[in-house]
């Protein structure tokens, strides 16, 4: 039965499709392949989520090799939720990509772009679905390598530098991760997540330094991929330099997957007690999260390039997600997890709108977008609504995230953290307000004066995301409910 092999298909399909794209090397064919593959992804992911909600954890033995010897794909509510996020973004981004990629990437490289996109997607899905520490590393590398190429395809020559910077830092991160995995393997003799967790139970962690070292290495390694402050330096350049489609895709997905992997290690493998009770990981994380929230939001205020501004905003948003982890209660963790989804919607919508400006007005600089609200009102309206969502105005997904986070902070007895969250929301009003003012209260000039609305293939995905921002802000049962279950699964661990 094909239904039994859905976990494998989720990863293998884009992987094979990427290879085919590279071999045919025809941009139109490659696009159709990427489009169809991307459309298939949410079907599989949603089917998996339904199955998990229905029957509990799915364990899939890759190639029939039973775990813990073989590679296990293990799906519970937490990663099924992340799979849905990833695949939905992928399905929305491909219709959008056609025009934007055609305009921003040289013809002879477009097939490669789609190939790299599919590889990246496959890698991210793989990290999410796998239940094996080393397999996660392999997928981490697949997605990272593809990401370096995607970034380097940016039209600006600075994109090359950004890609190289990310290559160096990403490689350091991956090395840290694999060193950590190596230490774990030495101590437990296994690479299977569930198996490592079980054997760590038997060890006296306090006296086994290698396990603690592994925790440190893995936290830093994944932290780099998460762009956890102060390991975020690669992110703004990468997002600003990459082609619009790649930026939107990475902003909505890549860091989310890394956060998921971090959660998996903290909760499932090392366990709540080791990480949060016996060692001050939460306290460190809390400080870094708050620092990221403030640094990201403050620096965003001073950016002229909208993509860079939104990239800094992402650093802040990752801070919120990590804050949800660091407050170590169920409500806050729900907030963090639901923000994975909500932020993907919000940032996706914002970067989609910015991609529209890049294509039609030829610029993403705030100073050159004067009057764009009058020449491209539909796109700008999408930007404003997504922006309100980012601020966390009630009736949008941003509010749902913040509600859980602030509530979690109060429940944890750290009400002042709640205030800090909301003060940074205010900073979001400032940096988004600048764009709105320029767009609506100045007369159109330059490229912005001649701009017209982008084609429907770009507007429709943008507005689907914006609509989702509002629909899931008014009825959060599905998203927050699933996040709540995922939080329960994580806190209870694999046992």
């Amino acid at each position: 039965m094909i239904a039994d092999h859905l976990p494998a298909l989720q990863v293998v399909l884009p992987l094979v499709a990427a290879t085919v794209c590279a071999m045919v090397d025809r941009r139109h064919v490659a696009y159709v392949i990427a489009l169809l593959t991307s459309f298939a992804m949410p079907l599989i992911a949603v089917a998996l989520l339904i199955q998990v909600l229905d029957q509990g954890v799915i364990s899939y033995a890759m190639g029939g090799w039973e775990p813990p010897i073989g590679i296990e794909y293990r799906i519970d509510v937490a990663n099924a939720f992340v799979l849905v996020i990833l695949s939905l973004v992928a399905a929305l981004i491909m219709p959008y990509a056609a025009r934007s990629v055609a305009a921003e990437i040289p013809e002879n490289k477009q097939a490669w772009f789609y190939c790299m996109y599919l590889l990246c997607l496959s890698g991210l899905l793989g990290i999410t679905i796998t239940g094996d520490a080393f397999n996660a590393f392999v997928f981490l590398e697949i997605s990272s390598l593809a990401t370096y190429v995607l970034i380097a395809m940016g039209a600006d020559r600075r994109a090359l530098l950004a890609a190289f910077q990310y290559l160096v830092m990403g490689t350091i991160g991956a090395t840290f991760y694999v060193v950590g995995v190596g230490l774990l393997y030495t101590m437990t003799g296994t690479l299977n997540f569930a198996d490592i967790a079980a054997r760590l139970q038997e060890l006296d962690i306090e006296t086994s330094r290698p396990v603690l070292a592994a925790l440190a290495f893995i936290t830093v390694g994944i932290g780099l991929k998460v762009a956890m402050f102060p390991l975020h330096a690669w992110l703004p350049n990468a997002y600003a330099g990459a082609p619009s489609v790649a930026t939107a895709f990475l902003a909505a997905t890549a860091t989310k997957v890394a956060v998921y992997l971090l959660l998996r290690y903290f909760y499932t493998i090392f366990g709540f007690d080791v990480v949060f009770v016996q060692h001050p990981v939460a306290q460190v994380l809390l400080i870094l999260a708050v620092a990221g929230m403030f640094a990201g939001s403050l620096i965003a205020i001073f950016q002229d390039n909208i993509k860079r501004m939104l990239a800094w905003s992402s650093v802040a948003q990752i801070g919120y997600i990590l804050l949800g982890v660091s407050l170590i209660n169920h409500t806050a963790l729900t907030g963090g997890i639901v923000h994975l989804f909500n932020h993907a919607l919000i940032k996706g919508a914002l970067f989609f709108a910015v991609g529209g400006f890049a294509l039609m007005a030829g610029t993403v600089r705030i100073s050159q977008l004067a009057g764009i609200g009058r020449t491209m009102p539909v796109t700008m309206a999408a930007f404003v609504l997504a922006g309100l969502s980012l601020i966390g105005v009630p009736g949008t997904v941003g509010f749902v995230s913040k509600w859980y986070l602030v509530l979690g902070a109060f429940e944890a007895g750290m009400w002042w953290v709640g205030f800090l969250i909301l003060i940074t929301s205010l900073l979001a009003v400032v940096y988004l307000g600048r764009v709105v003012e320029v767009a609506f209260f100045r007369d159109p000039e330059g490229g912005a004066a001649k701009a017209i609305e982008p084609p429907l293939s770009m507007l429709a995905p943008t507005w689907i995301l914006v609509a989702a921002c509002i629909v899931f802000g008014i009825d959060a049962e599905l998203t927050a409910g699933t996040a709540m279950q995922a939080a329960s699964v994580l806190i209870e661990g694999l046992r």
């Binding site: 109060f410 205030f419 909301l422 008014i474």
Partner: protein
């Protein structure tokens, strides 16, 4: 028709209007007709609801539960009914006035102006009818966002700056203070529903109650409690009908309404007066009330003077709520109505003076009364209403506030209210005195030179409201008194 469905109808009408207005972009007459029809539709729906509420019904409607504990739900109680009635009545008048003003001054971007106006009214209706704090907060933020383009309407640097201050202070206070207050309330009380008698009693200590009250009082920035009043005078850059919206129809009224509603339905006046957590707010609003009056005294710009007058009058309402006695709460509710009628008249007059003669300063008004007799007569009536002189509505709210202060044992507050009345006279009557008693300075020869008919008609009508409110205040008092029975 089902009464509960009327709530939804009242909420949908303004938003439908907002959706329809852009379709008539090229045809101003059709566009203005849509605005007027929408406003009338809302008014009629609200009046139907008012009839039911007067008869003792308490319609409610639950839309959806966003996440556990956060519900979008509506429930009508007397205070909200009163606010909705005020807002919907004044929207019609303001729309008529807007047509005269916007056309008379050839303002740009009129279509978007009417759209945002309609959305703002929809938000105000939502605030009035909200059944819990979350729903109120939702519409409160919609109101902040939808009025931002109205304040920035002129599009010049000053307007942009004013709008920036406006948005940052209102959204800022609401996010950083109001929202934490809501979360805190939820954490301690486990619910956000507006419940007669409050939901906090027994859940929170007296000191914490004081802090929570502070978060609400300052977080609800629209109430312009000093020192968070700064946005209100800054927002004076907006076109006059927008000022009327801000000062009389929706925005600041939504603020003081929210404060009153929170004190009455979240804290509960009995609980609040027992803990004494309200004392600081009584003192602060008394100081604010006098300070704002003193500032108004020194403003030569007519609209700025009126703006500080509003800050002072809002402090009356907050004071009434903070006194936490039954008479004072009725006084607060009454003052929302009375000040709305008086202040909208004054602003309409200020706008009419600007439209007809481009004069903005009090010192320029010498002798203008003979040129604009209707406008200045209406100004006189509005001023007397705000001051609180019979036979105008304003007298009743001051009466109740003073009686409420006695009831609550705050005798000095009565003195504060009296001094403030004198100050009101000192800053509101000079424009009238100059207009009628001083000789004109700009070579005026005689003859009428009034603003467009739509504007003069509107301001005459609101002046009549001031008068009518004196005679029909008991109906409002009776409605509000039903709040106290639980």
């Amino acid at each position: 028709m089902n009464v509960d469905a009327l709530i939804i109808l009242a909420l949908i009408i303004p938003f439908c209007g907002a959706a329809l207005i852009p379709l008539a972009h090229g045809a101003p007459n059709v566009r203005e007709t849509i605005t007027l029809v929408t406003a009338t539709g809302l008014f009629a729906t609200v009046m139907l609801l008012l009839r039911e509420v007067m008869a003792g019904a308490r319609p409610s409607y639950s839309v959806i539960e966003v996440t556990p504990g956060l519900e979008i739900a509506f429930a009508i109680e007397p205070l909200g009914m009163l606010f909705a009635a005020i807002a919907s009545t004044l929207w019609i008048v303001t729309s008529v006035y807007s047509i005269g003003y916007m056309r008379g001054n050839n303002e740009p971007r009129q279509t978007s102006y009417y759209v945002w106006f309609a959305i703002a009214l929809g938000a105000a209706t939502g605030i009035a009818f909200s059944g819990n704090l979350f729903t109120l907060f939702l519409f409160y933020e919609i109101l902040s966002v939808s009025t931002y383009p109205l304040v920035a309407h002129k599009g010049n640097e000053e307007a942009k700056r004013g709008a920036r201050v406006y948005l940052m202070m209102l959204i800022g206070a609401s996010l950083v203070l109001f929202l934490p207050a809501i979360v805190w309330t939820f954490v301690v009380a486990g619910t956000l529903d507006f419940t007669p008698g409050g939901i906090l009693e027994g859940n929170i200590g007296p000191i914490a109650t004081g802090f929570l009250l502070a978060l609400f009082a300052f977080g609800i920035g629209k109430a312009a409690v000093m020192p968070l009043h700064y946005w209100l005078p800054t927002a004076m850059v907006a076109p006059t009908p927008v000022s009327a919206l801000l000062h009389a129809v929706a925005v600041v009224k939504a603020g003081v309404f929210t404060v009153t509603k929170v004190i009455f339905y979240i804290f509960g006046i009995d609980f609040l007066s027992e803990t004494g957590a309200n004392e600081w707010l009584v003192i602060l609003s008394s100081i604010g009330l006098l300070a704002a009056s003193l500032v108004a005294l020194n403003k030569d710009n007519l609209k700025a003077r009126l703006a500080y007058s509003t800050v002072s009058q809002l402090a009356y309402v907050v004071l009434g709520a903070a006194l936490a006695s039954s008479l004072a709460v009725v006084g607060a509710g009454l003052h929302i109505a009375m000040h709305a009628a008086g202040k909208i008249t004054l602003f309409f007059c200020a706008g009419a003076i600007y439209t007809a003669s481009k004069k903005t300063e009090v010192s320029q008004l010498d002798g203008i009364g003979w040129r604009m007799p209707f406008t200045m007569a209406a100004f006189f009536i509005g001023a007397l209403c705000v001051i609180g002189v019979p036979p105008l509505g304003g007298v009743w709210s001051k009466w109740h506030l003073m009686a409420g202060a006695y009831e609550a044992g705050y005798a000095p507050v009565v003195a504060v209210l009296m001094i403030s009345t004198l100050l009101n006279i000192a800053y509101l009557l000079p424009p009238v005195i100059r207009a009628f008693l001083m000789p004109p300075t700009d070579g005026y020869k005689g003859g009428l030179k009034e603003a467009p008919l739509a504007s003069v008609g509107a301001l005459s009508l609101t002046a009549v409201f001031c008068l009518l409110l004196f005679f029909y205040a008991d109906a409002i008092r009776g409605l509000l008194a039903e709040m106290l029975v639980y």
